[in-house]
Every structure is written in C-alpha cells, then in structure tokens.
Amino acid sequence: MQVSSLPRLRRRLFWAVPVLLLALPLLTNEYTQFVANGMLIAALVTLGFSLVIGNLGQLAFANTAFFGLGAYASAILSATLGLPWIVTIPLSGLVGALGGFVASSAALRGIRAYYLAIITLAFGELMRWVYVHARPVTGGTNGLALPKETLFGFSLSDDKVKFYVFLLVAVLLIKATSNLLRSRLGRAIMAVRENEVATASLGIPTARIILMTFAWSGFVTGCAGALFARHVGHVFPESFGMIQLISSFAMVLVGGLGSILGAVLGAVLLTALPEYLRAFPGLEELFFGLIVGAVLLVLPMGLASLLRRASPLFSERYYRE
C-alpha cells in the first residue's frame, strides 16, 4: 500500500495543480492576472537557475543572460521575421540553450567553481552590452516591441489568454525537467555537485554533464524569456540586469536549492510579496538581501525541506518509481 500508492498520489497532485489553475482567470482582474502570469515566468526562470546552482552546484550568473537571449530571440523572430509568437517559444529555448552551452564551454577546459562563476558573470554582462550596441537588430536601448497577434482567434494582448499559453509551457517544461532529474542524467548532475572526481570514476563525462545542465537550464530560461517578451510586449536591455539576478537568487533559496517544487514555491511567493510591499518603495534590494541571508542562516534548504519533513508526499526522488 505504502509503496505503490505514494507515487500515484504524487502524480495526481502534480496534475491537479495545473487543472485547478485553469479556473484562475475567473477570479482575477487585469492586474492580478498580470501578476499571476509573471509568477509562471518566474517559476521557469527559478527552475532553470536552481538546476545550475542547486542541482549542479555551480555558482553561475549567466541565467539572466539566457532569459534575455530568449526574450530577444522571440522579439526579433516575431517582430522582424514575422514568425507567429507561439512558434518562437521553442526557438527561443534553443537560443537560450546555445547561450548555456557557450557560457559553460570553459568547463571543457577544466574551469570550475569560482572561475566558472566569474566567466558566467562576464558572459551575462557581455550579452547586455550586445543588446545595447547591436542596435539594428535589437533596437538598442529603445528595445523591440512585439506585434499584436491572435492565437486561434484569441487576442494575445489579453492577459487571460496569455495565461493559458504560459501555463501550458510551464507545465511541459516542469514535467520535462522532472523527467531529466529522475534519470541517469539527473543523478549524474547531482553527482557532479557532490563529488566530481568520484563521478568521473564511474565513467560519467562530467564536463559534458555540466554543459548539458547549462544548456537545458538555458532552454528552460530561454522559453521563459519568450513568454516574458509577450508578457511585457516589449523587450529592453534593462530588464535583464542585476535586480532580476538577485530576485532569482532569492527565489531559488527561499524555495529550496535544487528542488522543482521549491522553485515554483519560491517564485510564486517572491513575486507576490513585492506586490504586497508596493507601499514601501525602494526597499527591494534590502528586502531580497535580508531574505537570502535569513534563509541561509535559518532554513538552508528552503521551504521545500519543510514540506519534505511534513510529508513523504513532497520528497523528491531521483529515479523512476
């Protein structure tokens, strides 16, 4: 009973959430719907980031760049080349994956830890420089606007329509990432984090695992970028800067490093909280800084670890049951 029903219950819970969310647009106004859409995007960004810093255990700063790459790819493909936006989502993911590949390619040369962190930082800043200076393609600092579009007759300017698309993309990517983590590749990712030398001794090409993780993280984040481009309707270089980075750090930590459930929780919570805190402007950095510090001291494995402790339903397994 215990053995067979728990996985089934877990699976049902996984699908129950998106099914219930289908009704959400009945309860929202334009503003709250916009915030909810932002949560879905944040969940994907956090998931992608958590994969690198939580599961792979590499400090990296390039995810903001993958996000930007995805957003720009989507905007350029739909505004300049006239592709339907929905088609640009997977393409943006591929561009993000390419970014992940390039940013981590130093790993093939044996670069790890702080060195890899610094090179990803440089990669992120270089990308921002490119957005600003490649004006003919990116529109420079004025950015690029996405054209108005419809999808199966529904306007993509309507946040409620966007919500269903975002939800579908988010569910697919979360499911795919969960598949990845519950496979030999997922275990290899965490093995690299735990002990890379020992991982190699098992015949696992660790540098390639690092590149693969960055590339998949880039794919998830790049897709999120495409959603973000539609979410805002306009892509600017400023959207992919430091504030984006610190809030991602905070979301990953609050939710729990390396946990899919945690990534979603952290993203939802920390997207909602600043909206409630709108009355106290100017405190964003202080707020996120204090949260990260406090979580590190008090609950280093985040909210997900609390849930795990509360019920085996929330424990995450890295194999197929």
Partner: protein, 254 residues
C-alpha cells in the same frame, strides 16, 4: 588465466620531481593483487596514473591489449578500469540506491531527448536500472538501507556502498584504495569477504592498496612492493616475506 591489465614502464614526473619511476606489473583475471609500501612510495600516484587522474609522462597501461594511458578518467572508467577513493567517494546527499544507480550510468540506455520527453523505453531502462541496483544491494545485504541518505551511513557501510556502486557495471578491473582503513574488525572481515567474492565469483582483477599487513597477506594472490616511486619487489606472499629488499625498505623507513 590471462593478463587483464598490463602496466609497463609507467612513469610520472611533476615539474622535475619523479613520483613514479618505471613501474611495470601485470594483473590477471580473478586475481587480488596488493600494492604496499611506506608513505610516499607512490601507491596512490600509481592508482591515479592508471585511472587517468594524473597523466603519465611515460609508459603504457594496457587493458586487454588496449592502451589507456593518457585518456581521461571517465573514458578509462568506461573502458572498465574502476576505482574507489581513499577518502570516500560517495555522494552524501543522494540516497544509497541513487548512489548505486550512478554506477550504472553508462549501462543505462536512453538519449537525452528520450529522457526529457519521457519516452517509454527510457523510463523502462530507468526502472530496470533501479531493479538492478536493488539486486546488487541485496547481494551485499544492504537493501534495507536503499532509501537512506548515503551521508547518514556508518563508515563501514559507506565503503561497502562505494564498492557496490563501483562494481555495479561489472568492470573487469577494480582499484581499491585502502578499503579497510578505519573499519571495525567485523566490518573489515565483511570487506575481505566481499573482495574475495568479487575476485572468485565474478573474476574481477583487483588491485588493492592496503596498509594492514595481515589483511594483505590473507587476501592477496601477489604483492607489489613500492618505495620512493619505484617497484622494489613483486611476487607471491611467501616470496615477499623472504625478500630482503622489502625488509630493508620497511626497516629503513620504520
């Protein structure tokens, strides 16, 4: 019995310092071969050079006739030379089962795309790997610990799990770096039993670094004695017992 592993004239130099000097020996199928020597004799360097963590500056490492010298550690491991680590190489945050399953990485089919898309055959391969890992753990009477975090196990249990993980893929050659150090007498006997079974039943060629002389004498078929990066003696247990060079080396260092 044929020679599995043939190490010939292996040498390692670090910026002018000779850590390993012209070491040659062979390892047969199902043979337990101990490497002994005082601290700094180059035993671990020998292991690192064979398993690829240190690039040898000269010589060859032939596995069933194929030269592995200079290849990367994961490639050498994939060819079938696997090792454990002196300081423990488990992944503490993963469960015992997940640890053993990492040992099956290369044997588990399923491409990246198949895995991400959740294709049936990839899932089935995963389920098969899990069943196999459970079987391996049962063989070592460790299956009841399958869902425990590896980091929560006792030292002896950790070493056993590490060996289970290392041999999960049925490698022809196994390098064990001080598998019994710090173990209780009971755990040590268990370890000996495991080593004998791997060699005897599965025919694994085992190269073993060990300081505990009585353990070496009871399990090894042949012994390689090293000092200062060189091979100073090589032979069966009785031969080594009689060897003057060995006695001198040990007395000299003791």
């Amino acid at each position: 019995m044929s020679d599995l592993l043939q190490v010939s004239s292996l040498g390692v130099r670090f910026s002018g310092l000779t850590a390993l000097d012209d070491v040659s020996f062979t390892l047969r199928e199902g043979e337990v071969r101990a490497v002994i020597g005082p601290n700094g004799a180059g035993k671990t360097t020998l292991f690192n050079a064979i398993s690829g963590y240190v690039t040898p500056t000269s010589g060859a490492v032939l596995l069933q006739g194929r030269d592995l010298a200079g290849q990367s550690p994961h490639a050498i491991a994939e060819h079938g030379v696997r090792r454990t680590f002196q300081n423990g190489g488990l992944f503490p945050a993963l469960t015992v089962l997940e640890n053993v399953m990492t040992g099956l990485h290369a044997q588990t089919p399923g491409s990246f795309l198949d895995i991400v898309l959740g294709r049936r055959h990839a899932i089935e391969a995963e389920q098969a790997a899990r069943a196999q890992a459970h079987d391996l753990l049962k063989l070592m009477s460790m299956d009841h610990m399958a869902d425990h975090r590896a980091g929560d196990l006792s030292g002896g249990q950790q070493r056993i799990v590490e060996i289970v993980r290392t041999v999960a893929s049925d490698p022809p050659v196994l390098l064990l770096d001080e598998p019994a150090v710090g173990l209780s007498p009971v755990a040590r006997d268990q370890m000996l039993e495991i080593i004998r079974r791997l060699a005897g039943e599965k025919g694994v060629g085992i190269l073993l670094i060990e300081h505990a002389v009585e353990l070496v004498m009871s399990v090894a078929d042949r012994i390689l004695v090293m000092a200062a990066g060189k091979r100073i003696a090589d032979g069966t247990v009785p031969e080594i017992r009689e060897d003057r060079a060995v006695l001198e080396a040990y007395l000299g260092y003791a």
